[in-house]
């Protein structure tokens, strides 16, 4: 879980154009300046590429924080194994 979150933080930092040190699992769209619907779209696309998972349209509204996203990635990876 930790390594997934760490990787997500790096991806998010690149897509939101913020320093990775300002992000954590608790980061939400409200806290992070660069996190809008467009950059979230890019974040999800990058996450799909990076982890080889696929998000459904329903999943999108559940991405309330980076922890939530990491949990979803972990769950999807478990399912696909």
């Amino acid at each position: 879980m930790d390594s997934i979150l760490q990787k997500l933080i790096d991806i998010a930092a690149a897509e939101f154009q913020v320093d990775a040190s300002t992000l954590s699992g608790a980061s939400t769209p409200d806290d992070v300046r660069g996190w809008d619907s467009e950059s979230q779209l890019r974040l999800v696309m990058a996450t799909e590429d990076s982890f080889g998972v696929s998000f459904d349209i329903e999943d999108f509204e559940k991405i309330t924080s980076l922890n939530a996203l990491a949990a979803m990635v972990a769950q999807k990876r478990a399912v696909s194994r």
Binding site: E15, Q17, S37, E38, L41, R42, M45, A46, D49, D56, I57, F60
Partner: protein
Amino acid sequence: MSSPRPNITLLSSANWSVLVPGIAKSLSSHLGHEVQLSAPAFGQYRIMLADPGSELRSAGADYYIFAERCEDFVLPFETLDKDLAAAISERFEEYLQTIRAARAELKGIFLIHDLVAVRPYLATLRELSGQDSGIMSVLREMNIRLAALADELPDTVVVPVSFVVGEIGRQSADPAKYWLMGRVPFSRKFSEPYAKLLGGLLLARQGRTVRALALDLDNTLWGGVVGDDGIAGLQCGTDFPDNRFLVIQEFARALKRRGIVLTVISKNTEAVALEAIEKHLGMVVRKNELAGWSISWDPKPEGLRRIADELGLGEGSFLFLDDNPVERDEMRRSLPAVRVPELPADVSEWPAALFAEPYLAAIGLTKEDMGRARSYEIRRQIIEQSASKSRGEFLSSLEMTLSVAPQAETTARRVAQLFAKTNQFNTTAKRFGEGDLRALEDRGGDVLGVRLTDRFGSDEIIGALAVSYDTDARVAVIEGFVMSCRVLGRDVETGILSAVADRALARGMRELRGAIVPSERNQPCRMVFAQHGFHAAGDGNFILALAPNSIPWPRWFQKVPASKELSGQ
């Protein structure tokens, strides 16, 4: 001269902003400098183009990318009956008209994406092959019209995104759910190969693509080490595994036929290596196809520098191919301007690795491109021969003709190419686009092409000038003067200036002026006006008072009769 940080605006009905940051980053890395890539609010560009007060109109980008897609005209799963086909055709024509109208209002280079189906569709096999009317035949027709528009308008190039989709596959390029969610036009996987294609296009326009290959010998052009294995021990021939090395030789020759000059840089005893090149039965590239070589035990960067000087090319004009990662690394460290791509261990896979290499990109080829390698070979022969005769005698023996005449429709592309790509012999470093040149002619100025032939069969346009005339003040101004460095040493520039002076005098001018604007690379031309009797007026401006024979015509060039307009491809 394109700005250090080119401004690229992408116009589309889809939402490219999701992909823009990735494309911009990748493009910057290919070009070696930052780019500014933006896409104004999608779907609004037509309104913005039509509004003279809009930001889009006033911002003045360097490049505009018209990025409408197949799906903007043909919705997937539509039945393409006659009525629908006609409606699509009309909608497409409106798009072309928008581009045409924009061309009249905007400066900058226009890039137009071609059309390819990316979202899933239904098609019979005969529709796929185009035998029956369907999506494929509709797309083909639209792409033909699009290409015709690009040929018609100045400074307009088609970007073949269909090639990118072909490379990665429709399924990889399909944005899938992101299309439905946010009108995202392509998947993320599309971004990198697209940026590579765009990078090559921009490099080609800027004249920054390579002009020469620097090839290693051992384990690159043949298997084995000639110093150790002897000629008989080398692997090079038509049977596997020797034919792996023929792949890269054929690749090199194909590049040569497209204007890239071949050189060899090898750590070997020169006589031994040259004998192998000449004698080995399997070799395809022979010594007479090389523009130069540096075969010694010196470090390769020194060898490359030597060849670069010999050929009058900058180090950045070379692409270095060597199987040895240590040699590649040393070249990168010592001469960072040289292009050194990373290469797989298997030589036969190099053409795949170099496929769509941006520094080998070309927008189109002219006759001059295809003859370029040969003129370097000739230049080498000229240098070798000139030692034995007096200079004037020798130059006369070349039986050269020189003509300076207004560009014709057939030569306009070559002239524009010279203005766009010449960096060294370029007096003002001003990048005249096709639009600029036409505007100059409309104002009564001359766009002149310089054609040189010699007895070896060379016949090409090797220089160009943009000259304006002020009939009130009776002053002619050379706004731009470009010439290919490979014809230096023959006093071609004297002939050119002599002809330009005569033309100006015939038009009633009293003075001929020219300016030298120093740039990073135009050292070879900085003295050209001073050396021909122009008086230095300060600030890089030079003035010549015109009189008959102010600049004598060099006797070893035969003049082409003035009535003959510049013709040829």
